[in-house]
Amino acid sequence: MSEIKKVKNLKEFSTSADRFEGANLLCPGCAHSIIVREVLNATNNDLILSASTGCLEVCTAVYPYTSWDASWIHIGFENGSTAVAGAETMYKALKKKGRLKQPEREPKFVSFAGDGASYDIGFQWISGCMERGHNIMHVVLDNEVYANTGGQRSSSTPIGSSATTSPAGRVSYGEKKNKKDMIAIMAAHQIPYAAQVAPNKWKDMVKKIQHGMAVDGPVFINAISPCTTEWKFDPKDTMHIADLATDSLVFPLYEIIDNHELNITYRPKNVIPVEEYLAAQGRFKHLFKDEYKYLIKEWQERVDEKWAYLNRREEARV
């Protein structure tokens, strides 16, 4: 077991040497690279990384440049997780045979994917990785839309959001299906660790990533990634939107250990109404018209219900 990097406070964290480089082509103010940096800086171990097709992949590996300072692979839309799982299996086999050149180094295996590549297209592959028990971590950069191809809805898109394939207008209020509860699905694979994280709570994030890298077995991390282009807000407000998401409990931060121990890791001191979160983004603009105002009430009820459910589960330890 290799040593876990000590990160007591932000000053100590800031001495990390970044393994993700600038001049990538992500939009100004994109939360993807903030999440990636926080994940990579949480460990000092060597990293074997993959990225499924999506904003992160197309923007960090534009020939002739790469923005990654670690082994990194991209294959297809769906199989970023299995690519890393394959590398992990090879590592295990070589270790068993004693053919590793530096057996004392313990690389960590991380695959990054967007919500499209995790909730929809790569779902089966991730499910397979979780079921087979590879020692990998899958990080979802959840921006609730296929941002790379122009904002089509994914199964992560929440009710009322206007996406290009479910646009809001005279006859529709936009997306009609609710967001898939991916954490619960993944935890139901009996994996040792599943958690939701947000880039604005960096310490919570680092703690969860370090826990996830320390446990033996597959780990699923869902990170909210506010998208300036598709959520339609000003690039400078990325962190503000993430704050609103966590403080309004739209995106609660919690972890599930072995599918029975649920811990809520962040309880906002002042819970703000969901309306504020919706009002800050252009994709929910139409909900403030008179005919769709009832949806905001429904949003609030749904969020409250989910929060109460999480609290019940935390208490009951089931």
Binding site: A23, G29, I34, E38, D46
Partner: protein
């Protein structure tokens, strides 16, 4: 740089981030790394900017919020101190200014053409209004 065409690659070709070998990458700071011409570190996105951040170190308390929330690895922090902005990689999103907790802010956005020394000389005074 000279680009190889797509059909000039051998099967299994790999782009290398560094020239030579770096043994402990997590312990090697950016200035000590020998980046190859394939790392995006050697590229620049400075022409994306409309506004640029200017750093006034007189008011900085080294809280490192700007460092952790910078999406473009453009805040340079060494030995727990914020020492400057990497203007080759900054896209001018303005997150660093938003998260800066000091009063007045030690980072502010200005139009790309503005002169750093003039702006530093006329830095806004402390804002008395409390939130």
């Amino acid at each position: 740089m000279m680009k190889k065409g797509w059909d000039e690659f051998e099967i299994g070709a790999m782009l290398r981030t560094f020239d030579g070998k770096i043994d402990d990458i997590a312990g090697t700071l950016q200035e000590d790394r020998a980046y190859s011409e394939n790392s995006s570190f050697v590229a620049s996105v400075a022409d994306w900017r409309i506004n640029k951040p200017i750093f006034n170190k007189d008011f900085c308390i080294d809280c490192q919020f700007c460092w952790v929330y910078c999406p473009d690895i453009s805040i340079i922090s060494r030995d727990k101190k914020m020492i400057g902005i990497d203007m080759d990689h900054c896209k001018g999103c303005g997150i660093c200014v938003e998260v800066c907790p000091t009063n007045p802010k030690s980072l502010l956005m200005f139009p790309e053409k503005s002169d750093e020394e003039t702006e530093l000389a006329t830095w806004p005074a402390k804002n008395k209004e409390t939130k």
